[in-house]
Symmetry: C2
Subunit: 411 residues, 2 copies
């Protein structure tokens, strides 16, 4: 365990690190590849939860179901997740299939259907193979384990190349409180989560006892500091889901406005940021992790518009792939972003090297910049000199492999 700020990072931790959670990951046979395609997370006791979901109008059936459960104040006992099929754009039959998934899972776990959430990711527009799903749920329920987090993280992958997990623990009044999470997503990533957005699926568990208003506030702030700061391809999915589940099994209650709540929030935001960054590191075909930071914007909206425009620019992303300092592309993307600033006051740095000062070449030799851009990670730092607002977006480059993956992807 490595000490980081006021919390401890749990190596190889995940959704089953907090007390009272079990999980599993199995192969139901939805994916043609034969890889694991179904995961289950289970809480031994009824838990409170909060959710953030896609803002895409084509909201997948399982997203609709999760939102209904959240609105009806149902408690959480389990979430059943399949990969290989998104159950999106599947109409009423699709919605009924999502309901059936929750019913079958509920029956296997001897809980009420309204206590079971459902997530799907994969191909859009194809009905779920319900006999395969039903068989898979039985396998997943039978495989539940207190050490099942890793298996679950693998089973929710689609074009991901590796599972993504994070966990930390904090001490509150001498008692240990743990937060664990897993996420998936490597393409169709530009979450704009309506606190209540890729196919990004994220599940965060904690054994703290937290009331719904605080859970909701933590979700809102956490998502804006993490997943909403990520873009891979600018495409927002039909299925994006983040769930935060608190089952109280640690015996530690966390109240709004307390020192403990601040401590918990810091640990939670670390897990969310860690998971969000892991998505970018596993971006389809990526070779570089690029942090785009905009400082001194006239408004928070301007800072975000500018950072998002640069991070989404195909010309910037291909230049980063080619280690091409071509800063004109960054300026062009900032210039058409909609943010208000004076071009003659614009500054740009790549990591520690000045690139543009007052809207013009800062004089750093191009070779030095090209060398810097061969780093696997660098920061594109923009100063608009127009105000006091900042925004950061984590993104990556666009490579030949990105095109290959997305010209051929089917499941």
């Amino acid at each position: 365990m490595k000490k980081k700020k006021s919390f401890d990072i749990i190596a190889k931790g995940g959704v089953t690190s907090p007390k009272g959670f079990k999980a599993s990951g199995i192969c139901a046979g939805i994916k043609k590849s034969g890889k694991d395609d179904m995961a289950l997370i289970y809480s031994e006791v009824p838990a409170l939860f909060s959710g953030a979901f896609t803002s895409c109008l084509f909201e997948a059936a399982p997203v609709t179901l999760c939102k209904e459960r959240l609105a009806s104040d149902s408690k959480f006992r389990a979430v059943i997740i399949n990969s290989g099929n998104a159950n999106a754009c599947t109409g009423t039959p699709g919605y009924k299939n999502a309901q059936k998934m929750s019913e079958i899972t509920a029956a296997e776990l001897s809980v009420a259907p309204e206590n079971v959430l459902v997530s799907s990711t994969g191909r859009i527009g194809v009905q779920l193979p319900m006999p395969v799903i039903k068989h898979g749920i039985k396998l997943a329920a039978a495989a539940l384990s207190e050490k099942g987090g890793d298996k679950a993280a693998k089973a929710i992958m689609t074009t991901d190349t590796r599972p993504k997990e994070s966990a930390v623990s904090i001490k509150i009044n001498g008692k240990k409180v743990t937060i664990g999470g897993m996420t998936k997503g490597a393409g169709m990533i530009a979450p704009k989560l309506n606190v209540p957005h890729a196919t990004m699926l994220t599940y965060i568990t904690t054994d703290a006892d937290i009331g719904k208003p605080l859970l909701r506030a933590l979700m809102s702030e956490g998502v804006n500091r993490s997943f909403n700061c990520v873009t891979i391809d600018g495409d927002t999915s039909t299925n994006d889901t983040v769930l935060l589940i608190a089952n109280g099994s640690s015996g530690v209650s966390i109240k709004k406005g307390t020192k403990e709540a601040a401590l918990f929030a810091e640990a939670l935001y670390f897990v969310m940021e860690d998971l969000a960054k892991q998505i970018v590191y596993d971006g389809e075909g990526m070779t570089k992790f690029v942090t785009v930071t905009v400082n001194n914007a006239a408004s928070a909206k301007d800072a975000e518009l500018c950072a998002r425009s640069v991070a989404s620019s195909l010309l910037c992303k291909t230049a980063w792939f080619g280690s091409d300092p071509n800063w004109g592309r960054v300026l062009a993307a900032a210039g058409y972003s909609g943010a208000t600033f004076k071009p003659e006051k614009f500054s740009l740095d790549y990591d520690e090297k000045p690139v543009v000062r007052n809207g013009q070449d800062a004089g750093t030799p191009e070779k030095a910049l090209a060398k810097l851009m061969k780093r696997p990670e660098f920061t594109v730092k923009i100063d608009l000199n127009a105000g006091k607002h900042s925004h950061t977006i984590w993104t990556n480059d666009i490579s030949y492999e990105y095109v290959e993956i997305n010209a051929d992807y089917h499941t």
Copy 2:
């Protein structure tokens, strides 16, 4: 000559097809490749002109100069154009260099500097090599010819693979009126022209006699019907310029609101649309021309938002490259576009084949759709069933070659 509607298309016509215009294209030595990099268009008599320019905040020095000339009601005698260097983000020295370009050209042509416009395209952020430019202007002036349109169209190319020209003629009261144009642009193409947007440079000449208010109205309507309907990579350039120049040499005067004005407008819009489509056909690394049409949107803005979102989606563009029917990506892009509609009323067709009806799979076999998508041109037709507004965007796919060109481009 092929008859098209009420005008005649002039095969291999361009900016020197209308009477009283000369042009040239020469090698000044700005490009390392040794290809032609300077063009000049000259009108034998003072002409009226209108312009549409980039909306990017980083407006290149020659764009600033053109806007000033337009605002000051200067007449047009010539436009000097260089490729290989955009003279953008070059500060006061850059602006002075643009002025010098107009002065040198004016001296060579024995006209006033305020009658000379300037355009540049190429690398951003590097000062122009003025001795090379000066020598080039002399060569360009000496090479002016009534048949120089083709040479000029070649000299303004950067990553373009071929020159792009169009010309038509109409008959008005027994007299011939001609419209000719040339354009360049293959990347950084998503014009959003503030009538008064890529590096797209377009020059349209006509020998009609047209007053400024009508020229301005024709420009505004024409640009919205043509260049603003094109996106290649979603990146808007610092240098985008469209100039429409009318020198009256045909002896035909065209007045607002007349039958002749309608006839002229139809012919002009044909030339503008033809040039705009040629840009898409020459899009960097493109293998397919895709028309995205949105019908029955609740508002004109919704129609455009939806069409632009689908046309700009990296996931849609890579699926088109792979001939992958993956219509879920089209629905996702429509769903996050910001347009308002009911997903259960959404319909989608690829050319003549139904793909989605009422938000769900229309049942056309995937193989039939994949075969259709191997066509070099197809239409993605969306029906939102939410109103009466339509919008069309012409775009293309994103290939390995696109990434290659843009990871390596340096002039």
